[in-house]
Amino acid sequence: MPHTRYRLFLLTVALLFFAGLPLRSEQDLHRVWAVKDARIVTLSGPPIEKGNLIIRDGLIEAVGANIPIPKDAEVIDGAKLAVYPGLMDALGQSLLKFPEEKLDMARIRAGDFTDKDRGITPGLAALDYVSLGKAVFEKYHKLGFVAGHVMPDRGVFTGRSAFFLFSDPDKNKALVLKDICLGIGFSPSSFLVYPNSLMGVHAYLKQALSDAIYFDQARSRWLKEPRGQARPDFNPNLEVLADFATARKPVIFLCRNQNDIRRSLGLTAEYKLNYYIADLGGEAFEVIPELKKAGARVLATVAFKAPGSSLYAQRGRAEREKAEKEVYPKNPARLAEAGIPFALSSLGSDDPKAFVEGIQKAIEAGLAREKAVEVLAKTPAAFFGLERALGTIEPGKIANVVLSEGDLLAKEAKVRFTFVDGRRFELKEAKPGEGEKPTVNVSGKWEMAVEGQMAMNLTIELSQEEAALSGKLITPFGAFDFTGGTVSGKDVAFEISISVGGQDLDLFFSASVEGERMRGSVVQGGAGTAEFTAKRIPG
């Protein structure tokens, strides 16, 4: 081969080879940024109408009206932009991915139940199960979110939370704090184990907190002076619980409705806990006097669905829908009005987009937009002891900022850039969607969870050809082929006729697909409806 051609060949090979590899620079050349002439909402003082923001080495170096632009800074023209502290989800679980677990029927039939079956998993740590990545980050950054407090939320002692920045797919780099709070849920087991009723859960919580305090005291007594004393048995759950039962660390009560909020306040009064109330039913407004008296801090949902225990839900669909439009969205505004410290949680909202839509509903219902920004930026930092590092745009703090065209959280606002941990992320416009033709391809395996049937392990295998959908439902009782199915836009529908124990059942599934998740309802002909979600199984 001629000399030049050989060199070209080598170069092509090299390019092809290295094109597949991630570019690994030896150093990060983009560590100094300046945003020029922007409106800056610092949250540490009045907004700066026209100012400069300097970011260096991951931290805010300077912010103000007449700050000089350093020579080594990369400049972003902020003339059309407003700068905010990055928003934070005060409590979420959608970033957690738990491994697929097959229900072992033999074990169940033998009565071999684990603590997990009871919902007792205080040792479960968010850090071990968080799943971060570029796609996830983009979904959040697009809406102005740069960080989140993540906690498992299933069961009675649900697990311990951790705080992450949406900056690096490596969770060790993204982690800010771990084992911050312990989740407490009012969620009885669906197995025949204790506790399997709400009253049982309440009584169990009291006993567990009492036992944890006892264990803590017994252990420190023994460590101080073992002579003459029986050595207390080790109990891994009690060891974890000890910090929380003795108020050395806070718990988060996952309250499904106002009754749970009152129960939680009763428990905190009795056991003198350090706590937050996660208002997942959106009914905190019904408990304002008690919350104020107790000095409670609230993490409020924006999903605005009437809890089943509410009068609205009991009185029928029309009443319920009306309340979900007119009553529940007012909850955050009412908390703000009453002066109750609160932040907003994505629990109950399926994904970041739904979370923001919920926040916008709350704003329409009366929560001042500036207050919304404050409870999404400043308050979560203060709640979790991070107010000196995050939450406002001040020199020395971590550079988490959002640059948006238009007021952040306004419907027409578009986030152009976010900085997380000082790293810049640029956000591109999404393409407009298509019509009734399928816009999703759901072929593959999905793990399905049906409300009220949490214990049952269900998988669906889907095969989509244009708008036609076929597949089968795999249950512990066998596999059942679909008797029909369609895909339209991003909605799927399929039906199954099952024969179980001599009974014939007709099941109709319909759902909307969003990325790797499906959410919808299944109707059993003549009997009832249940909601279901499905998560795509990778591979």
Partner: protein, 450 residues
């Protein structure tokens, strides 16, 4: 903002009716006049009046003068009886009525899961029921604690609680606790026979006695250590066990025991156990074979809270008859009629009428089975159960005699407040229907139908 009234918001409208424009409870006075008053303690007053002051009945009589500022309700000759008391119910509870995870669950408490927004509270009022006792189910030999509630529809959970009513412990014998140990998910669990059910209770009593002793010993040592002023180290306390404390409360008499039982031999056997441990069993729930052992029941002094005619749904409910309540009552056993069911709760007065036909109970006695008898079983007979001065103004108004098969409950008062008024209810419904109609057909005039 005035609440918008729609067809479906009628109960809400009544709610706002109760809560709006109220004078403080202590000041209000209401005169119910011109009614036929069944006082519940033998006398019926025709053309009678009831004066309510605050939450209490101030006076019962004829031609009572109305104090200044009193609201007047003209009963127009309708019948008034003491508000019905349903001593065995499971309404107004959130979540499962049974904690089935273990067979002894004395630590569990219905007070923790009161659901004040249960629409069945409103339905109770439509049937003239003013107080209930809501309790743990019958899955366990020793279940959780129950709680007495007044049907103050619209109030919070804490405000529904019947102040001062004794706390109760629910026991269950027979098929239900046996079956709850074998429901398919997991292997069958002990006990599976009536013998095992009783033994579970005995075992727990012994454990609780041990637990109480451990604490008594600790208290003694702790007091001695304190007195020694530092010479003796205070001992570490025993571990607190809420379940055993619950059982200890039974042994010490703090809780009134209500025992679900059907068959005569299991009832006699548990009475023997109670005598052995010094536990006072207050009432058998259902006790459908109680008519076979009326002598023994009367001798022990235990009451029976039962059905008028619900039977044959399982084996232990087969050997019974609608005359059972009458047979017990006629032999001096305290008998109350209960619902155990939200739907039956609305027609307890019909059930009482059945005992007149089946067994020949007198009308007065039938009324007592709904009023003073359950009040005694709940330990609240000083407050409710009859219409007399000094008692709570819990009243039920009917358009015909309550035991008449064609009667309808038209108004129910709790603590002197009208919580249910059928006339207003119908008016709201009519208005709402007209509103819906004019919304849909603005050019047509509404015909004013319901």
């Amino acid at each position: 903002m005035k609440p918008k009234i729609t067809a479906i918001g009628i109960a809400a409208a009544l709610l706002s009716l109760c809560l709006s424009g109220r004078v403080s409870a202590a000041e209000r006075a209401v005169l119910l006049k011109n009614g036929r008053i069944i006082t519940g303690n033998g006398a019926t007053i025709d053309g009678g009046d009831i004066l309510v002051q605050g939450t209490k009945i101030a006076q019962v009589g004829k031609s009572l003068p109305a104090p200044a500022g009193a609201e007047t309700i003209d009963l127009n000759g309708r019948w008034v009886m003491p508000g019905i008391i349903d001593s065995h119910s499971h309404i107004a509870l959130e979540g499962d009525v049974n904690e089935m995870g273990d067979i002894i669950t004395a630590e569990v408490d219905c007070k923790d899961v009161i659901n004040p927004r249960d629409i069945n509270i409103f339905y109770a009022l439509t049937g003239g029921v003013t107080s209930i006792h809501t309790m743990h189910g019958s899955a366990n030999p020793i279940g959780g604690r129950g709680i007495a509630l007044k049907m103050r529809w619209g109030k919070s959970a804490a405000e529904l609680i019947f102040e001062g009513a004794p706390l109760t412990s629910k026991w269950a014998l027979g098929e239900n606790p046996k079956n709850s140990n074998d429901i398919g998910m997991g292997p069958a669990r002990y006990p599976k026979t009536r013998m095992g059910v009783e033994q579970s209770i005995r075992d727990q009593f012994e454990k609780a006695k041990d637990y109480m002793k451990k604490w008594a010993d600790y208290e003694k040592k702790a007091t001695a250590a304190k007195a020694s002023k530092g010479k003796t180290a205070p001992p570490p306390p025993p571990k607190k066990d809420y379940r055993l404390e619950g059982v200890a409360d039974i042994l010490s008499g703090k809780l009134w025991v209500r025992c679900h039982a059907y068959q005569s031999e299991e009832m006699l056997s548990i009475l023997r156990l109670c005598r052995e441990y010094g536990v006072k069993l207050v009432c058998f729930e259902h006790g459908l074979e109680g008519y076979r052992i009326t002598n023994e029941l009367r001798e022990y002094g235990v009451a029976v809270s039962t059905f008028a005619d619900f039977w044959a749904y399982k084996w232990e409910a087969y050997n019974t008859l609608p005359q059972a309540a009458a047979l017990c009552a006629k032999r001096g056993v305290l008998v109350a009629l209960n619902s155990d069911d939200a739907e039956r709760m609305r027609r307890l007065f019909n059930d009482a009428a059945k005992t007149v036909r089946f067994g020949g109970v007198s009308e007065d006695e039938a009324i007592r089975m709904l009023t003073i008898n359950p009040a005694k079983i709940l330990g609240v007979d000083a407050r409710v159960g009859t219409i007399e001065a000094g008692k709570d103004a819990d009243l039920a108004v009917f358009n015909r005699h309550p035991l008449d098969s064609f009667t309808v409950c038209e108004m129910t008062l709790v603590d002197g407040m009208v919580y249910f008024d059928r006339a207003k209810y119908l008016e709201e419904r009519k208005k709402a229907a007209e509103e819906e109609k004019t919304k849909k057909e603005p050019e047509k005039k509404s015909g004013g139908e319901v």
